[in-house]
């Protein structure tokens, strides 16, 4: 570890000092008449402050990262003696302070200088989003490659059996993703089959038929569903929906005796997705111009004919986009399936049987004592990457469709 705490605090101290020094120097340079200055004293102070603060901070960040990467390859970038680190970093701060103080004069455009620093900060902040994506991809790709070094990639992508060995030593684990993908898709399908019609009809009714009174009650209620954390839905599946489905459907029909099942997780996930589908569809339906509705009603169409034959076809691309976004949500959902779907990887058509999903297995392989050398742990990264690629594809497609759709009516 680099000893960064002291240089960090020292830099902040110097920067604060720099602000006041810069300000007072600007005032003294101005003499009695402030108007002689090209910029306000405050701006001189800010420039000094940023000049002192930001270069050492940037160096710290880059150095820490580099040292971290180097230490993995047994190269030591951090010197044994912390003094050297202190000298470099604090020296940089002092140099920044000194240089910026020297630049203070009547003609110095301190406002532009300080704004350039601020702009740099703003740009840095907006690259965080990019860095996050890079971090996601890097973190998963390297470990996935690691995994494929120990486990055949064909067996992973095309294997129909999922049975990790519990000895932890590996070797005889069969890690095929097919049963997990099957569970994921089956549950997502049930969820969408429930959420899309309900959400869509709810959105249609709310935007086209409902009285303001009903709307003012029903809309917040549906929005509440959106604000409920998924762990709550998970518990709902585990405590209420699972046993109910088992007692009412599965057992009397002889389809199984498990409370956790594809149906349980799918239905509860469907409930979770209702507000998502309905609010997206609501936006999309409202984007269809009123003149279309008038045109149809003016021809003597009933409201429902207008909706089915004019509004929905006009909104279709947007609705497809919304459904794809919902599908991506369903595929990536974790807590509901962890608590509601079961843990057994299975390729079966019976919706009342327990199955498991990609996300549930990521959780089970990465919680508890994990050994980052064994394929049983590393497989989680390959699963994660697969999940990321699938949802990314769906999202990009969906966002593209929705954006195109909106442009059409703008």
């Amino acid at each position: 570890m680099l000893p960064l705490t002291i240089p960090f605090l020292a830099t902040i101290g110097l920067a604060t000092l720099g602000y006041f020094l810069g300000r007072s120097r600007a005032i003294s340079v101005a003499g009695r008449d402030m108007r002689l200055l090209n910029a306000l004293p405050h701006q001189h102070g800010l420039n000094t402050c940023f000049s002192t603060l930001l270069p050492p901070l940037a160096v710290m960040l880059i150095w820490a990262l580099a040292a971290r990467i180097a230490s993995r390859k047994d190269v030591l970038l951090a010197p044994e003696n912390p003094t050297l680190v202190y000298i470099i970093l604090i020296g940089l701060a002092v140099a920044g302070l000194g240089l910026s103080m020297m630049r203070i004069s009547r003609d110095f455009r301190a406002r532009n200088a300080s704004e350039r620093w601020i702009m740099g900060l703003l740009i840095f902040a907006s690259t965080v989003a990019i860095l996050t994506t890079v971090g996601i991809v890097l973190s998963m790709v390297s470990e996935t490659l690691n995994f494929f070094g120990q486990h055949d990639w064909k067996a992973f992508f095309f294997g129909t059996t999922w049975s990790p060995s519990f000895s932890g030593r590996g070797g005889d684990s069969q890690l095929g993703i097919i049963p997990l993908l099957w569970g994921t898709l089956y549950i997502s399908f049930i969820a969408l089959a429930f959420a899309v019609p309900v959400g869509l009809f709810a959105a249609i009714y709310l935007s086209e038929y409902a009285s303001p009174r009903l709307r003012s009650i029903a809309k917040p209620m549906i929005e509440i569903l959106a604000g409920i954390p998924t762990i709550v839905y998970g518990l709902f599946a585990l405590l209420t929906v699972g046993p109910l489905l088992r007692d009412v459907f599965a057992e009397p029909m002889g389809l199984g005796d498990s409370a956790s099942s594809v149906m349980t997780a799918g239905l509860v996930m469907g409930v979770m997705l209702i507000p998502f589908v309905s609010s997206l569809s609501d936006d999309i339906i409202n984007a269809v111009p009123q003149s279309m509705r008038d045109g149809s009603l003016g021809l003597g169409a009933t409201p429902s004919e207008t909706i089915r034959q004019v509004v929905i076809p006009a909104a279709l691309p947007g609705i497809v986009g919304a459904v794809l976004l919902a599908a991506s949500r369903a595929i990536g959902e974790t807590m509901i399936v962890v608590l509601g779907a079961g843990a057994a990887a299975r390729l079966s058509l019976n919706p009342f049987e327990a199955m498991t999903t990609v996300t549930a297995k990521i959780v089970s392989q990465l919680t508890g004592d994990t050994d980052f050398a064994s394929p049983e742990t590393l497989v989680a990264f390959a699963l994660g990457l697969t999940l990321f690629v699938i949802t990314l594809g769906l999202n990009v497609l969906a966002l593209y469709i929705v954006r195109k759709y909106r442009e059409q009516y703008e």
Binding site: G227, I307, F388, V396
Partner: protein
């Protein structure tokens, strides 16, 4: 064209067959729509009822009150022994026995029955109290002690005489005893403050399990998220909305942010595990790592809502500032940003609420660990927010995986607590929006 001629010559006052059919279809369509809304509302109600009926009882807890005298010798002996709480436990058990005998409440209960009435956690509570005020040693104190989880369950309807018959951990004699003690007033069920302050307890002691550590951990993480996500999110939004030129770089950033908002949360957990724990070697289970992961997860939400509120400020405000000679940066920081602040704040609170309820990524960075010590915000050894902690939603998950049904009650109770927190945050957001909403 018979239909046509019918509609041509037909009177408007009579509904023709085709129109009747179409109107029936209209009614059906409306009914589907109304049905969908009712179904959604029904699901919400069902969910809330399920959680409340399962969890409301966790806010009450059964305690026993009887006098205990701990002499100085007993105290010294107990403190000198290896199993300190074990020694206290014996004292409590014999004190309870004495009390029952003296008040003629014992009935047919055996000595073991009586011993098991008291929660294993009670002794630790007594010890803590005695260590805190040494001057009560030697005097008779009226302790109020946690009853065993099964006894507690009996008063909440979770344990009945039928289930007790099948359960090795509770006997009918104990239930009789509990009834007699209740009549006598020495056993009461009252509001369970310690549910909010206690740390988690072992699998055998659901009666002592509380949310203290989880609430503290969640608070720490929210602090981290607020301190990082708000400034970074606002700065990024200002750049993208006010300064960025339209080119492929900004396009990539925009698409990227939209996608990040839809990336499954578990992926952020993998990111946290790989980058913050394995690469940066931050401490597992620490609120710092949890906060960082949630920051990255919340950032897109905050950026999207902040940009929306910046966009809602009319250009005339910017023009006015530029017109008096302010720089672009000054117009943004002096005029646009303050006007957009309520909207930004609302979006941030909603983002925080989302982060507060998030579970999956936290499981991967080890926040599911069993933590009995309250984490300090700063320790010299582990740094800022570095001590192991848990979080509200993870604690809920943790409890659902335990077999004792008493933990289901706790988990549901914890959900109610979590939902109340979320409700308060959302209410605040709505209040802010209503109070500061401005139409241009």
């Amino acid at each position: 064209m018979t239909d046509l001629s019918a509609s041509k010559s037909g009177s408007l006052l009579t509904e023709d067959k085709r129109t009747a059919k179409r109107n029936a279809a209209e009614k059906r369509f409306r009914a589907y729509g109304l049905g969908a809304i009712l179904l959604a509302c029904l699901m919400l109600v069902l969910l809330l009822i399920s959680i409340v009926t399962n969890g409301a009882s966790s806010f009450k807890q059964t305690y026993m009150a009887f006098p205990v005298t701990v002499s100085q010798e007993e105290f010294d002996a107990a403190e000198g022994s290896i199993l300190k709480t074990g020694a206290y436990n014996k004292m409590l058990q014999s004190a309870l026995m004495d009390y029952l005998v003296a008040n003629d409440l014992l009935g047919d209960a055996t000595e073991d029955d009586v011993k098991n009435m008291i929660s294993g956690e009670a002794a630790a509570d007594v010890r803590r109290m005695l260590l805190a005020n040494a001057d009560v040693i030697g005097t008779e104190i009226d302790f109020s002690l946690l009853a065993n989880g099964r006894i507690d369950g009996y008063f909440k309807g979770r344990v009945t005489r039928e289930t007790a018959a099948l359960d090795t951990k509770i006997t009918a004699a104990q239930l009789d005893l509990a009834d007699r003690m209740t009549e006598d007033g020495s056993m009461v069920t009252r509001f369970n403050w310690s549910f909010f302050t206690n740390p988690d307890a072992s699998v055998q002691r659901p009666e002592a399990a509380g949310l203290g550590v989880a609430i503290l951990g969640s608070l720490y993480m929210m602090a981290v998220v607020l301190c990082l996500a708000l400034p970074i999110g606002v700065a990024a939004s200002i750049y993208l909305e006010e300064f960025a030129k339209k080119n492929w770089v900004t396009d990539v950033i925009e698409v990227n942010i939209a996608n990040l908002a839809a990336v499954p949360s578990i992926v952020y957990g993998i990111l946290g595990l790989a980058i913050f724990i394995n690469f940066a070697e931050l401490h597992q289970s620490s609120p710092l790592v949890g906060g960082l992961v949630l920051t990255l997860m919340t950032l897109p939400t905050i950026i999207i809502s902040t940009r929306a509120s910046l966009k809602s400020i009319p250009p005339s405000i910017r023009d006015a500032a530029l017109g008096v000679g302010a720089s672009k940066m000054q117009s943004v920081f002096h005029h646009v940003l303050p006007l957009a602040a309520p909207g930004i704040l609302t979006g941030t609170i909603i983002g925080l609420a989302q982060a507060l309820g998030e579970t999956a990524p936290l499981l991967l960075i080890g926040m599911v660990a069993f933590v009995k010590e309250y984490p300090a915000a700063y320790s010299s050894e582990l740094g800022l927010f570095g001590e192991a902690s848990t979080a509200l939603p993870v604690q809920i998950f943790n409890w659902t995986t335990r077999s004792d049904p008493a933990f289901v009650e706790r988990a549901s109770g914890a959900i109610i607590t979590l939902l109340i927190f979320l409700l308060m945050m959302n209410a605040l957001a709505i209040f802010l929006r209503k109070k500061f909403e401005r139409r241009w």
